[in-house]
Amino acid sequence: MRPHELLHPTPAGLYCPPADLYIDPVRPVARALITHGHADHARAGHGAVLATAETLDIMSVRYGENFTQSRQVAILGEAIRIGSVSFSFHPAGHVLGSAQIAVEAGGIRIVASGDYKRAPDRTCRAFEPVRCDVFITEATFGLPVFRHPDTAGEVAKLLSSLALFPERCHVIGAYALGKAQRLIALIRDAGYERPIYVHGAMEKLIAFYESSGVPLGDIRKVAAAERKTLKGELVVCPPSAIQDLWARQLPDPVTAFASGWMRIRSRARQKGVELPLIVSDHADWDDLCATIREVGAPEIWVTHGQEDALVRWCELNGIRARPLRLAGYGDDGEAETESVQAAP
């Protein structure tokens, strides 16, 4: 069997013909394996879903209990046989419940990593490299300019701004699944003990993290009447809310945004960010390269993001690589696409 006979891209997503199923399909299918709960990877409406227990729970929180007709829990490291193919899930270090999926048949093992990161994160299990013949890597930050700094420095930047501007409210845009919880954990670990206020849209997923054993301290929902009284406080909200009327009603807000994109000045300015915090839930360039070396795969397939640069790096290092043009990813999490808004 050749690798592309085991797994290949289709308009609906990565398809595995011998088992007749898809990984992270972007359209409703009969049978789906889901790497993690971000909306571009985990969609509602499939016939059957196989994913980690946390990912299944996150899908229920987001889409309601009926997001699929039947579900099966994948236990990390345990092989599940479907037809002639063996599947196993391994931690990806991206968000709570995130997993890489190893697909094995006819003596070939392909690992679909979903999204992953290598930086330490106490809100989810750390990435575990799995040796394989083909490694499918994301490339959200697949350019050598993306080097995420130590998160401690970014949190220090935030806390020093809080100290310097005690009259102002600091409002931080962060994605509701993963980024918000990791950011809050980092702020707590830096010794910040005051209440942290959150936008209503984040409440459920934060509660889910806490119930899964990720303590985040005193978290309070921002009540509408209370908005004006939050000077000197920290507020976390979805990125779309930082430029909204919602955020403008906070007292003299300092607008922060936690994202790997904040590394690039023009990106931060376009978003009107005043305090960019470079905190990412994806691997940076150095970690992408290190991971490719570590899994030892002779062939690399590169998907959503900056495929060209990573393919070039593989070539320079004598590793066979090709871009896997998969459509439909990057709508959630950090992997958003650059877009110019509005037209006459």
Binding site: P144, V145, S266
Partner: protein
């Protein structure tokens, strides 16, 4: 706190994102408080424009990075980031065991000192060792500093205000002593922090903060009484302050300052040498030939030059048209009302003016309508052939003292109405910095009689962010050709986009293909509604020029 370039870079980075004046002040004051001498003195010098680093050209930086990274990865990265210094700062490979690795990062003081004594050939290796030792933000700041591309949105005035806020000083207290002081300003910091004596203001020709005007709004006419005001022309030159006096050795020191306090005497030695009064006056620096005021373009030829040739000075002699007097001898006349200062100024210019300093004329008017008529046609009421060098009018309250900054209700500027043309968008180029991912530099043209569109100008501003996004979208959708960073946009008689362009003046120019050069062109409106064939013709521009020239040659 560490006191190296990384920490100064950290401040610059924060300042670049902070839009509020008070926010910037708090950040700078905090930096001054946390950073020891002499580093903070160098930082103050950098922010007040007292340091020149610009030694390296972009080519040197390209060569350094080309030695270290794959050209294709560099090209992909540069294309994405859109800024050379930032791209190199981010992708610079930190070489373990490299020259600068494990060395402490350089301080700003180290950099200034080393650059002053390093010759060109040794510069690449020195720069590389610094880049190895700095973090991403530090590398960005270093590359921006040495290529002269640092724009941090901080004026010298703001930096001095932040310094004053270390203790109980006012920014003007700092200004008063500023020009007598030298790097790294340790005595100044000690005074500002309240544990040192006021530094001796030994400079006989210091800068005094300039008084500035507010734009006149329509509703002001009903509120203001013309009898309370004097009016004079606002000349299109450079607002300057000329200060002169004798130092302790009895030598004459003369300086010309821009309105922000920058010493520009070096560009105008012909003028500075001829000033021999004790005192300080405020006026407009203009080039006069045969007693005629020359356009700003002529004046521009004398700016930003390393050396000023005798020929240039002879052909374009600099003058001052005096508006006001600040010091008469050693007497501070700023507290006097304008009417009294004017009398002092007239006497002062009569005594000391010589051939290079004359008086700004006061206009007589008894109503705003009468003044509006003057403004609409300066040529007819005494400005004569100099009318094109007039930007508008200045209104000043007769009883106002000379105050620093922009006090409310005392001085107003009333600019001339801009000219307008409807032009067709022809080319677009990507912008820089914040706009690097938008097409924001637009070239536009007007129709020649034979139906060919001739480019007549370029504009980078005038639109809102929303309009910029719309223009960018239009450019991307209607591109017909690409030349490097430039896109040619559909522009035929049937299809294309009309832009209403406003500008402050127009003149013939041999350097431009169209034969004309606009001053301060900007996009005043996007005419989504207007068919391209209805845009203005070159004949319209020709008529404008003829009118201007007829006025200029009138006796």
């Amino acid at each position: 706190m560490r006191a190296d370039l990384n920490s100064f870079a950290w401040l610059l980075d924060r300042l670049a994102y902070e839009p509020r004046r008070n926010g910037k002040l708090a950040l700078i004051t905090d930096y001054f408080r946390q950073t020891p001498d002499p580093e903070r003195g160098f930082a103050l010098a950098a922010m007040t424009g007292q340091l020149t680093f610009a030694n390296a050209k972009a080519g040197l930086i390209r060569a350094l990075i080309a030695d270290r990274v794959d050209p294709e990865l560099f090209a992909l990265s540069y294309d994405y980031v859109g800024d050379l210094s930032e791209t190199v700062a981010l992708m610079w490979p930190v070489q373990h065991g490299g020259a600068g690795h494990n060395r402490p990062p350089p301080t700003l003081a180290d950099i200034v000192e080393a650059l002053a004594k390093t010759d060109k050939r040794a510069l690449p290796a020195l720069l590389a060792s610094w880049l190895d030792a700095l973090d991403e933000t530090g590398r960005w700041a270093l590359l921006k500093l040495i290529t002269g591309g640092l724009r941090i949105g901080v004026s010298a005035r703001l930096a001095k205000t932040a310094l004053a806020a270390l203790g109980n000083l006012q920014p003007d207290d700092i200004e008063e002593v500023w020009h007598g002081l030298e790097l790294p300003y340790a005595a100044l910091f000690a005074w500002a922090e309240g544990h040192g004596q006021k530094p001796e203001a030994s400079d006989p020709a210091p800068f005094r903060p300039a008084m500035l005007a507010h734009p006149l709004e329509d509703e002001d006419f009903d509120r203001l009484d013309p009898a309370d005001f004097t009016a004079e022309w606002k000349w299109d030159g450079i607002r300057v302050q000329a200060a002169s006096g004798l130092n302790a050795q009895g030598l004459r020191i003369t300086r010309l300052y821009s309105r922000t306090g920058e010493d520009i005497s070096g560009s105008f030695p012909d003028l500075a040498e001829r000033i021999a009064f004790d005192g300080a006056i405020d006026g407009e620096l203009l080039i006069l030939k045969d007693r005629r005021v020359q356009s700003f373009n002529v004046l521009q030829q004398r700016l930003n030059r390393k050396t000023v040739s005798a020929k240039l000075m002879a052909e374009h002699p600099a003058h001052i048209r005096a508006y006001d007097i600040l010091f008469d001898g050693t007497e501070d006349v700023r507290p006097l009302p304008l009417a009294e200062r004017r009398a002092r100024l007239e006497a002062f210019v009569a005594r000391h003016g010589g051939a290079r300093v004359d008086l700004s004329t006061q206009l007589s008017f008894d109503s705003w309508e009468a003044l509006a008529a003057c403004r609409a046609d300066p040529a007819s009421i005494g400005a004569g052939p100099d009318a094109d060098a007039i930007e508008g009018l200045m209104l000043k309250r007769r009883d106002a003292p000379y105050l620093p900054g922009r006090p409310k209700g005392l001085w107003y500027k009333w600019k001339r109405d801009p000219s307008l043309l409807d032009c067709v968008l022809m080319y677009a180029q990507r912008g820089h910095g914040k706009r690097s991912s938008f097409y924001s530099d637009f070239t536009f043209g007007c129709w020649r009689e034979d139906g060919v569109l001739v480019p007549v100008g370029k504009a980078y501003f005038g639109f809102t962010d929303e309009e910029l996004a719309q223009l960018d979208r239009f450019v991307r959708k209607n591109t017909i050709n690409r030349f490097g960073p430039v896109r040619e946009v559909m522009h035929s008689a049937e299809a294309g986009l009309v832009l209403e362009v406003a500008f402050e003046g127009i003149q013939r120019s041999a350097r431009h293909k169209s034969g004309v050069a606009m001053r301060f062109p900007r996009i005043s409106r996007i005419r989504w509604d207007k068919p391209t064939r209805e845009a203005d013709r070159m004949a319209t521009i020709e008529a404008m020029l003829t009118k201007i020239e007829a006025r200029a040659s009138a006796p």
